[in-house]
């Protein structure tokens, strides 16, 4: 298609390839006159700008020339300087050769002519620049005159050798494109002479035997040094001959297509397979010289085109100069001229100034330009795709940091000349090596569970004090007695303090402060006590114990002196038991110590009153602290303390705050620090959040003050977060709640980053399973499928997009789909679109997306899931529900990820809840509609059917939250007529069920909250008829199936994993799950056993008691140190907690196993081993389960080890 045009009777020259923008130089043509008969000559330069869609070219420079031109050429000479645009050489009429500076013409500067010579005797028709040395120019004129010019010295030309005979005009000179000293000249007689400039002589003459050739054009092959083409102007032989000098006797081939003589040829430098020719038949053709095929034809022009030239810079365009005085620029790529036609029409219209040119008051309508023109300009592009459009190499990125490359030869030695490389390389790109290294370390630590060492390593390598602190705090969270150790980290070492106090007391340094002595002693003593107690018990659980001990100890220590020394009145009041009076008297006399001691004897109210009055009277620096501590106003401390003493406040919390308040108080303190906006204080706030284990707040606080955009910074954060959440998990034995938005965002970011480095599996591990965030779902889907077959046991996550069917919808059943799939494709489609079939099974109204809300609406489900198994137990029903939604769905429900409402895991996990086994079990009530979020957590629907007596008690309304042990259904059950009394429950029988029984979904989030096997009577449940009847009656209406998807855990503890096989086996084999009435009846007895009267220890655990108590006795026999003795006494008491749990069957198999192993070690007197087992048990079980007795076992073994009993 035509791109540009100018009306000039001129010869033309393109600017060299390296010039930008592209110019076209025109010089008035010699031997052509127009109607003006003007003999003036002009040299003009036009810019060829395709950004402008019009056909116009802008004239950028013009210059009157001294004579007209036969040939114009534009070379690179002098192009080294930035302002140069090369030189234009014009071959003139009378042997004049003129050299112009293109730059000077363009810039309209003076002296644009930089050289002129008249060495030639006649018109100079042939010019060519050496492609290798831009200062070398060849020129040819008449009389066989050929000169070689060095533009640096334009006055003296060289000759390539003796003039060829006979003398004739030189039509073309051309330098070889490969060998720089080879030049050829073509002559109208039809021969071409090849010159070797080193030898200074012609080395070969090429001529056709027919003698009818009349050379008009000649061109060297752009790539093959020995080939050239000659074109014949003779109408009798309108051909283009291709010659190879290696066989210079006859042409290799002849391109025949023109009807009349060929006027010019131009060989495309960008693609040797494209050769342009113009001829007297008014056609311009493009050939593929290697095949002889005509690949392009520009339709008949109105006039001969005497010169065609490829544009050196823009390979798909060429210019053509015609005898009728036009220079046109065409593209060989086809296309239409719609837009141009329009602009032309606009131009014509506007030139008539259609804004009322005739003053008639009428605006002329736009000019109508005939449409026909546009149609004829549609020219098909080159038949042969040009080389420049054929992209030989390529690169693209793919998901997972993969890089796809092709077109590259791997080994440079390999010859790839004829055959193209047909390989595509897929590479893994990893850029963040340090990030990956650290991520791998973290991954290993998390997998091995050896987080302590990980923290230690981090502490050692920490560069910043703050970082070190954080890691210290994190480390302590992983350890036993974390509170005590946290205190140490805050700078409060109990041993040190004790020493200080001791030395202070023994030195008798008088206390200058006006504090009563008794009070001083009291404080000291409380410290002492604190140390003792916290040594005895794991610090986390010690705070309440501390208060238990504090008061009785005080009394026993102080009672004796009271009776000895009294004021008369006080003693009288005492004798009469009038404590109030006595206290009043003491307070008056400012005998505070006495007053308080008396108040203790006088009862709680009096004590409190007295304390209050005391604090009101005594205003010292310490009193606020004292009052807060004594009156347990921790919140006051947190809210009012000077932020600079946050450490002290935290220390107080660590020492005193009850477990359930602790978290909240720490967070409050953290929030206060954070709200200051000060970076240092925010860092301290992070420490508070670590202490409280509040991951989300930690992240929020962190991101405020630290950038997390770089991979390593993100890694910094994630390391801490993962360690902290893991430590909390270990502490509570359950997965943390679903991450909040801030954390989820970072984790997703982190996972994406891992994915981008190719760590797909690791990335998947980090993605919070429970999150419903669309981005996370999408990433999970992508990660899953990106791993292809590598995720063997997992089921695909739901497809997080709404599917759109493209093409005409064909009805195909899923079975047919799979059946008809060829092998390769089937393998692929199978796992990739598991959800497709299932969507078809959904009701039409359901969106084609597993939309979250619908899954969690329990209402529509019961009928559906219950009908097929009306007598079946709930777990089965819930399994049915799952398969209903995902017909090819997972056997392991935890992979139905990400759909859990946060509430599902929330309540059970909140740290402030005392986590008694009973509370941990949602039990019966949970299955009622009143508590849908909890229903998924544990064997919910089994209960209704199992509790034959007193059904009325189980109306949903009467059931408070299952979190409250007192309100749990258990009391009812235990008082039921059938009774739960007789035989001690056989534990082993229950072992298999506690987790597997309720159905997979339930146990997953609460592995440690295993169902306590209650001490119930098996007999009471052996009547199948009663049971069956009840179930049939009650189940269908009563229960709401659990949400099929339950809170998953981010990293699954080992314990629940073991359950899957058995569970899936159950489901696959079609057996009723344990909860089903027929076999799994034991399931139903598993109700919390809080108030059952004390029974015998189960026989198999009797050994534990014997061993532990035996050890206490042995120790007591040897121990002399009162402190130790006290510990041992305490031990006996605390072991009761253990026995209690054993009776209740409230301990998980793992713990029981651990206990037996510990007992075994104790029997073997291998306390070291015992302690190891102890650590294992503690780290793998839930805090609530073991907190009552595990610490004392440790103390006991430690003592035993020391005493060497």
């Amino acid at each position: 298609m035509k791109l540009k045009e100018i009306e000039r009777t001129a010869v033309q020259a393109w600017s060299p390839a390296n010039n930008h923008p592209i110019y076209l130089a025109t010089g008035t043509s010699a031997q052509q006159l127009d109607a003006s008969f003007s003999t003036n000559a002009t040299l003009e330069i036009f810019e060829v700008d395709f950004r402008d869609p019009s056909l116009d070219m802008k004239q950028k420079g013009t210059l009157p020339a001294s004579n007209r031109f036969h040939k114009l050429i534009w070379g690179n000479f002098g192009n080294g300087s930035p302002e140069s645009s090369g030189v234009i050489i014009g071959g003139g009429d009378n042997g004049v050769l003129t050299m112009y500076s293109a730059h000077r013409i363009l810039a309209s500067k003076s002296e644009p002519v930089i050289g002129q010579t008249e060495k030639h005797s006649g018109p100079v028709r042939a010019l060519d620049f050496n492609p290798f040395q831009c200062n070398l120019l060849a020129s040819g004129a008449n009389d066989s005159e050929i000169f070689i010019w060095d533009l640096n010295n334009f006055s003296v030309p060289m000759t390539p050798g003796a003039k060829s005979q006979p003398h004739e005009d030189i039509s073309v000179v051309s330098w070889n494109r490969q060998v720089q000293h080879i030049l050829s000249s073509a002559h109208p007689s039809g021969k071409a002479v090849v010159w070797d400039l080193r030898k200074n002589e012609p080395i070969i003459k090429v001529s056709d035997h027919s003698n009818r050739m009349h050379c008009s054009g000649m061109a060297w092959h752009p790539e093959v040094a020995t080939q050239l083409v000659l074109s014949s102007e003779d109408d009798r032989l309108p051909v283009i001959q291709i010659w190879d000098l290696r066989f210079a006797t006859s042409p290799l081939s002849q391109l025949e297509g023109h009807a009349r003589g060929v006027l010019s040829v131009s060989w495309c430098q960008a693609d040797p397979e494209l050769l342009l020719s113009s001829a007297k038949d008014n056609r311009i053709l493009c050939w593929n010289p290697s095949t002889g095929e005509m690949v392009y034809e520009l339709p008949i022009q109105s006039q001969w085109c005497f010169d065609v030239q490829w544009c050196p810079r823009n390979p798909s365009i060429f210019s053509a100069a015609t005898f009728d005085g036009w220079i046109n620029i065409y593209s060989v790529m086809g296309g239409s001229l719609e837009a141009q036609q329009k602009t032309q029409a606009d131009k014509i219209s506007s030139s008539f100034n259609n804004l009322d040119p005739f003053g008639t008051g009428q605006i002329l309508p736009p000019l109508q330009v005939p449409e026909q023109v546009a149609q004829t300009t549609l020219i098909p592009p080159l038949k042969k795709p040009p080389k420049w459009i054929r992209r030989p190499v390529g690169v693209s990125f793919a998901f997972g940091g993969k890089l796809i490359t092709f077109g590259l030869t791997k080994a440079p030695g390999q010859q790839m000349q004829q055959t193209y490389p047909h390989q595509v390389f897929i590479s893994q790109v990893t850029t963040e090596t340090e990030f990956l290294l650290r991520s791998r370390e973290l991954q290993m630590a998390l997998q091995s569970g050896n987080l302590l060492d990980y923290c230690k390593g981090k502490i050692q390598t920490a560069k910043l004090q703050f970082d070190e602190n954080l890691w210290n705090f994190l480390k302590v969270n992983l350890e036993q007695e974390s509170r005590a150790k946290l205190l140490k980290l805050l700078g409060y070492n109990k041993e040190d303090l004790q020493k200080k106090i001791a030395s202070c007391l023994s030195n008798g340094i008088p206390d200058k402060q006006p504090l009563p002595e008794a009070n001083e002693a009291n404080t000291a003593q409380s410290d002492q006590l604190l140390i003792n107690t916290s040594d005895d018990v794991a610090a986390v659980s010690s705070s309440s114990a501390f208060f238990d001990n504090l008061i009785p100890q005080n009394i026993s220590a102080l009672e004796i002196p009271v009776t000895e020394d009294t004021d008369g009145l006080i003693s009288q009041a005492l004798l009469l038991g009038n404590f109030e009076g006595a206290v009043e008297l003491c307070m008056r006399a400012e005998r505070f110590a006495d007053a308080i001691i008396l108040a203790i004897a006088g009862g709680e109210n009096l004590l409190k009153e007295t304390q209050k009055r005391y604090f009101a009277k005594r205003k010292t620096k310490l009193s606020l602290l004292l009052s807060s501590i004594v009156q347990q106003k921790w919140q006051d401390i947190v809210c009012t303390c000077d932020l600079q003493s946050w450490k002290e406040a935290l220390a107080i919390l660590l020492t005193y705050a009850k477990h359930e308040d602790y978290t909240q108080l720490c967070d409050m303190l953290g929030a206060r620090l954070e709200s200051e906006g000060d970076a240092a204080l925010s860092n301290d706030a992070c420490l508070c959040y670590i202490s409280s284990g509040n991951v989300e707040r930690l992240v929020e606080c962190w991101v405020k003050n630290h950038e997390t955009s770089s991979p390593l910074a993100l890694q910094d954060l994630v390391e801490k977060v993962m360690v902290l959440s893991r430590s909390i998990e270990m502490l509570r034995g359950t997965a943390g709640p679903a991450p909040g938005p801030v954390l989820a965002e970072r984790i997703t970011q982190y996972a994406s980053l891992l994915a981008s480095q190719g760590c797909l599996a690791a990335a998947m591990d980090y993605l919070p399973n429970s999150s419903k965030e669309l981005l996370i779902e999408q990433l999970r889907d992508r990660l899953f499928h990106a791993q292809g077959g590598n995720v063997g046991d997992q089921q695909p996550p739901p497809f997080p997009y709404a599917r759109v069917n493209v093409g005409v919808i064909k009805q195909t059943s899923p079975a047919a789909r799979r059946g008809s799939t060829p092998e390769g494709a089937a393998r692929k489609t199978g796992p990739k679109h598991p959800e497709k079939p299932s969507y078809q099974s959904l009701t039409p109204s359901a969106p084609p997306q597993p939309s979250v809300p619908s899954l969690f609406t329990p209402q529509p489900v019961p009928a559906l899931s219950m009908t097929p198994h009306h007598a079946a137990a709930a777990p089965q029903a819930s399994a049915g529900l799952q398969t209903g939604v995902y017909s090819r769905g997972p056997p392991y429900p935890q992979y139905n990820l990400g759909m859990v409402p946060a509430t599902a895991s929330g309540p059970a996990l909140s740290q402030s809840q005392p986590f008694s086994p009973a509370a941990a079990r949602p039990g019966g009530p949970a299955s009622f509609p009143s508590q849908p979020p909890l229903s998924g957590q544990s064997m919910p629907m089994t209960s209704p059917g199992v509790l034959p007596p007193g059904p009325a008690l189980f109306t949903p309304a009467s059931l408070p939250s299952s979190q409250l042990p007192a309100a749990s259904p258990f009391p009812v059950a235990s008082q039921s007529p059938l009774g739960f009394s007789s035989a001690p429950f056989s534990c082993p029988m229950n072992m298999g069920y506690p987790q597997g029984g309720p159905g997979a979904p339930s146990t997953k989030p609460l592995p440690a909250a295993s169902l306590p096997p209650p001490p119930t009577a098996q007999e009471s449940w052996t009547d199948p008829s009663a049971r069956g009847g009840l179930q049939k009656k009650k189940l269908p209406e009563k229960f709401t199936p659990p949400a099929p998807i339950t809170a998953p855990v981010m990293s699954l503890p080992t314990e629940p994993q073991g359950i899957h096989p058995s569970l899936s086996r159950l489901q696959e084999s079609g057996q009723s799950p344990p909860g089903a009435p027929k076999e799994g009846s034991l399931q139903y007895h598993q109700l919390p056993a809080e108030r059952v009267e004390r029974k015998e220890l189960p026989p198999e655990h009797q050994g534990l008691k014997t061993t532990f108590e035996g050890l206490v006795q042995r120790c007591s026999a040897i121990a002399t140190d009162p402190k130790t003795r006290r510990k041992l006494e305490d031990a006996l008491q605390r072991l009761e907690t253990l026995y209690e749990k054993l009776r209740e069957q409230a301990l998980s198999p793992t713990i029981l196993m651990g206990l037996h192993e510990i007992a075994h070690c104790i029997e073997a007197r291998n306390y070291q081993q015992g302690l190891l087992v102890h650590t294992q048990v503690v780290s793998s079980s839930s805090f609530s389960e073991v907190s009552g007795f595990m610490p004392i076992l440790k103390v006991l073994m430690t003592i035993a080890g020391k005493l060497n009993v």
């Binding site: 459009i389 981008s756 709404a802 759109v804």
Partner: protein, 289 residues
């Protein structure tokens, strides 16, 4: 660090012009001057030929995978002036749509972000850009930008879907008010940015810096920052990175990444938009951070 993990022998009989992985990175589509499009399963270091698609009558320049929510769909464009959309149906690949509205070689195809629906932009040597939108039940609607690039359009690349405000998809078919944009590069040495306004595509920006054909443009994936980034490469060996910080999309500024000594054919962003891969006529692939 780049390590080859898989070498796929495509058995193409002529030059390979494009190799693209699907959304999940497990399937490879290649196309070649031998007029064929091939699809391979490539995970786990293996390769299984899934399809050898014949239908083009000229070299196939590019292939593009649609988002999986539309099924397994691949678009290919060729020198034969055709765009073919292939679809896997019952495990076999078939032509689902053929577009023949261009007058010259179709050099580039690129699917719009999946949020917009199934839209394919096609750039051709006839200078036009076509936008094919799937309108349901096998129907496609065509919009054409004529003379987008004089002499030809070599590349098209969509801007990531950025919604002002919420990212949540409305399931009811109500589409959020996306501002649709794409970039194109052509033989007029320009990079142009097109924006849809009232259903019409308008030239929003003309980015001038290249002094040769723009061979490829790549709009960087969104990483949540307000900055838009485009990479473009050219015959002149230059690779430019264009950035625009303001939301209106009006002030783009170029930065020269590098000047190579040969044609630069291809630029491709990593998924996380932090690495740019550049492949040039010197047979080298370079990665830029």
């Amino acid at each position: 660090m780049v390590s080859v993990i898989n070498t796929v022998d495509t058995s193409h009989k002529d030059m390979i012009h494009e190799a693209q992985m699907d959304y999940y990175g497990t399937r490879l589509a290649t196309c070649s001057s031998d007029r064929s499009v091939k699809i391979f399963d490539v995970w786990n270091g293996g390769q299984i030929l899934i399809a050898d698609l014949r239908g083009h009558e000229g070299p196939v320049w590019q292939v593009a995978w649609a988002h999986p929510m539309y099924g397994n769909i691949l678009a290919s464009c060729s020198y034969d002036r055709k765009v073919i959309i292939w679809k896997e149906e019952n495990g076999t690949w078939e032509k689902t749509y053929e577009y023949t509205g261009h007058d010259s070689s179709v050099n580039s195809v690129c699917w719009a972000p999946h949020d917009y629906g199934l839209i394919l932009a096609c750039g051709s040597s006839d200078g036009a850009i076509s936008l094919l939108s799937y309108t349901g039940d096998g129907q496609w609607e065509v919009k054409k930008i004529s003379n987008a690039h004089t002499i030809g359009c070599n590349a098209v690349s969509w801007a990531p879907a950025v919604v002002p405000g919420s990212l949540i998809e409305q399931p009811s078919g109500q589409k959020p008010n996306y501002i649709k944009r794409f970039a194109s590069g052509g033989c007029d040495n320009l990079v142009k940015i097109w924006k849809e306004e009232d259903g019409q595509w308008k030239e929003e920006q003309k980015l001038e810096a290249h002094s040769g054909w723009v061979q490829d443009v790549a709009w960087a994936p969104s990483i949540g920052l307000p900055t838009s980034t485009i990479a473009s490469c050219s015959q002149d060996g230059r690779v430019f990175i264009w950035t625009c910080d303001d939301a209106s999309g009006n002030s783009w500024s170029p930065k020269l990444l590098h000047k190579f000594n040969d044609v630069v054919w291809h630029v491709s962003w990593s998924i996380t938009a932090n690495i740019l891969a550049v492949s040039g006529g010197d047979n080298k692939v370079t990665l830029w951070k």
